[in-house]
């Protein structure tokens, strides 16, 4: 096992000394493509934000309407029934 480790270490040491080709020139159009995809990514997230913000007042109005409707539908007997329902499991 130790010998194998040494061999791998030797291979890695030689690999570290490999010559890497220089990469100073930016390929043509790379900057424009990177900027375009960054803008596309932020446009998508902005679209979702706009959609969520637009949906918020609609959801608030719908919730309020539901609450009003259920409150008006609840007669005086419903309050007594609710009391019975709450008290029954606690004090059988």
């Amino acid at each position: 096992m130790n010998e194998l480790n040494q061999r791998l270490e030797q291979l890695a040491a030689r690999a570290r000394n490999a010559t890497m080709p220089p990469s100073s020139e930016v390929p043509f159009g790379l900057a424009a493509r990177a900027i375009a995809s960054a803008r596309a990514a932020s446009d998508t997230s902005a679209l979702w934000t706009r959609f969520s913000l637009a949906a918020l007042p609609v959801a608030a109005v719908a919730t309020t309407a539901c609450l009003c409707w259920s409150a008006s539908a609840m007669g005086p007997d419903a309050h007594d029934l609710a009391q019975v329902f709450i008290q029954t499991p606690l004090f059988p």
């Binding site: 194998l4 791998l8 030797q10 291979l11 030689r14 690999a15 490999a18 010559t19 990469s23």
Partner: protein, 195 residues
Amino acid sequence: MILTDSESRACMAAWLRCSDEGAARTLVEAFYPFVASLIRRHVADTGCVEDLAQQTFARCFAKAAQWDASKPLEPWLARIAINQCRDHYRARRVRPELRWGDLTEGEQEAMQATLIAAEPKADTLNDESRSLMLRLLDTLSADDRMVLSLLHLDGKSTDAIAMLTGWSRTLVKVRAFRARLKLRAAFEQLEASHS
């Protein structure tokens, strides 16, 4: 083009403020050599370098708001580039088994030099050894590959790897230990397929 820390900060600020294209182009021109050489060290397929560099810059600009302006840009870019390389290998579903017959002549020579523990004549097998090492690393998972590549090909410390990957130091050590076992197994399998 070389930018100082304050110049690169100013460019990032201009991009954040009004998506200034000129500032973004300046950043790409200044940091492309750094990003490309980092990717080239970890990815065997040189055809992917340009795509991965483009994705790195795109992510950098899209997530510019998350950059801590009190720190230099280079380490943050390096972290994005490393994550792009890892995602590139994660997306690859097949991890090939390496056999003697799959190696090029140069890689076979490098393997033989390693097997007989011979010191090759001055720098003759360095490129072949790197190619062989990358092929052996290709048999591992994306995370195992990345940790060994940073540790053995880049010569980075555990702390530096933890910073680049966002893993804890303990996780880096555990992952490196397990990945080394898998690399040994791949090496032994390659050796067996030769003999």
